[in-house]
Symmetry: C2
Subunit: 247 residues, 2 copies
């Protein structure tokens, strides 16, 4: 089964260049290995209306949505409120999370920390392989923290539930300009509509001018498209990489 | 004058992890130095309808829009057609670009290369500091190539026209949890609505627990907010960085 996904990165700090994105870059690789088709990444500010609108669109469009950031006890942590607004539900203090927050901070608990127990009403808690702290999921939206070490740990705990049909990829390195290759590529695309053919010119390589990639969930079709492309390009092929699992 | 911007990265190759994004990361830094407020980055597939819809939304919402990728002679280069569709105009072969394409390839010209002379009807050509090859601009959308070396070179040639009021940033490093800091942050946010206050917990530092940033286009207001925050946090301040030009 093919599954689609979208990533919403909530963070002024990324847009302003104060921190480089690590979470989308990490999730690109993880989803690829899981066989999930990532269809969109959007980085937006810490703003309620924008979060509400963006997550509602993503949730309607993709099978899986992952948010990064904007969860925490301070004024700029508005992801939970944004998701709630996007679906017209209230923000709800989850008793199970509240118990965890109180247990974690003990006597040092500040009032603001209790915001970490808030979820959009109707959210479920997904523990995966980590019994200590769950990931809140509202409908098909998995709500992950922005701090990269936490983001990675939490995603790793729940990753297995997203596994889909693996992606197969093959590569062909060609010695001609894209303009020369174009008619051959068009012919392969027409014959193999279910195989994605990418064409990437490179100007800093001596050995080849263009990297061509063929990929899809059906390994046999990727193999057939690869064979057809190699045959069509003939002497323009510098080297090839046979179909293999992506990731 | 404050100016807003959005970046649309068009590229299956980024979403699938075949290549890491370099262009958005580069543009984040450049726009910051120019004083432009980057408000959104979206990475989408090489798909006509998605490009059309996305660029139309961005163009209506931000002062400046930059697209990366999807320009070239092959089947997966559909950015020009996507922008044209988004605004209900035709794709037009620009005579000035066509002359450049023919001059560049000479006798080696493949038919497909002429697609590099196509623009959405009504686009203008922006040369900036590079007389050899212009950047097509349609309304407020600047159309840049996906190959990172070209993207950087072309943006550098036209960057000066985007210069806006510089951004000033100050930093405060605090020794307490975000939950403890939250009430103080709320007070500063309430008093300085025009200064953006960011709060970023870090779990791998010994010296401090949270990095706080204050930034805005009005240096005097950033300074005042910084002084107010430092005073309010008192002994929780480990170190500070005085207001300075961002970038």
């Amino acid at each position: 089964m093919a599954r689609t996904a979208g990533i919403v990165v909530i963070g002024d700090e990324i847009l302003s260049g104060k921190f480089a994105d690590e979470n989308a870059a990490f999730l690109i690789r993880e989803l690829r290995q899981l066989g999930v088709d990532l269809r969109r990444i959007t980085v937006i500010p810490d703003e309620l209306d924008d979060i509400a609108d963006t997550v509602a669109r993503f949730a309607a469009r993709f099978d899986l949505v992952f948010t990064s950031g904007g969860v925490g006890p301070t004024h700029d942590d508005v992801t939970i409120a944004g998701i709630a607004q996007g679906f017209g539900v209230a923000v709800h203090r989850h008793p199970e999370l509240e118990a965890k927050v109180r247990g974690y901070w003990g006597a040092a608990l500040a009032d603001a920390n209790l915001r970490l127990a808030d979820v959009p009403e109707g959210a479920e808690l997904v523990y995966g392989s980590d019994p200590t702290w769950p990931v809140p999921a509202f409908r098909n939206i998995y709500i992950l923290p922005g701090v990269p070490a936490l983001f990675r740990r939490k995603f790793a705990a729940i990753a297995d539930r997203f596994r889909a049909a693996p992606i197969t990829i093959a590569r062909v390195f060609a010695s001609a300009d894209e303009g020369v290759l174009a008619p051959s590529l068009d012919a392969v695309v027409a014959a193999f509509a279910d195989v994605k053919l990418g064409s990437y010119p490179r100007f800093d390589e001596r050995e080849f001018k263009v990297i061509l990639t063929l990929e899809g969930h059906d390994a046999a079709r990727v193999s057939a498209a690869w064979a057809a492309l190699v045959e069509r390009l003939g002497a323009l092929v510098v080297k090839t990489e046979a179909p293999a699992a992506a990731g």
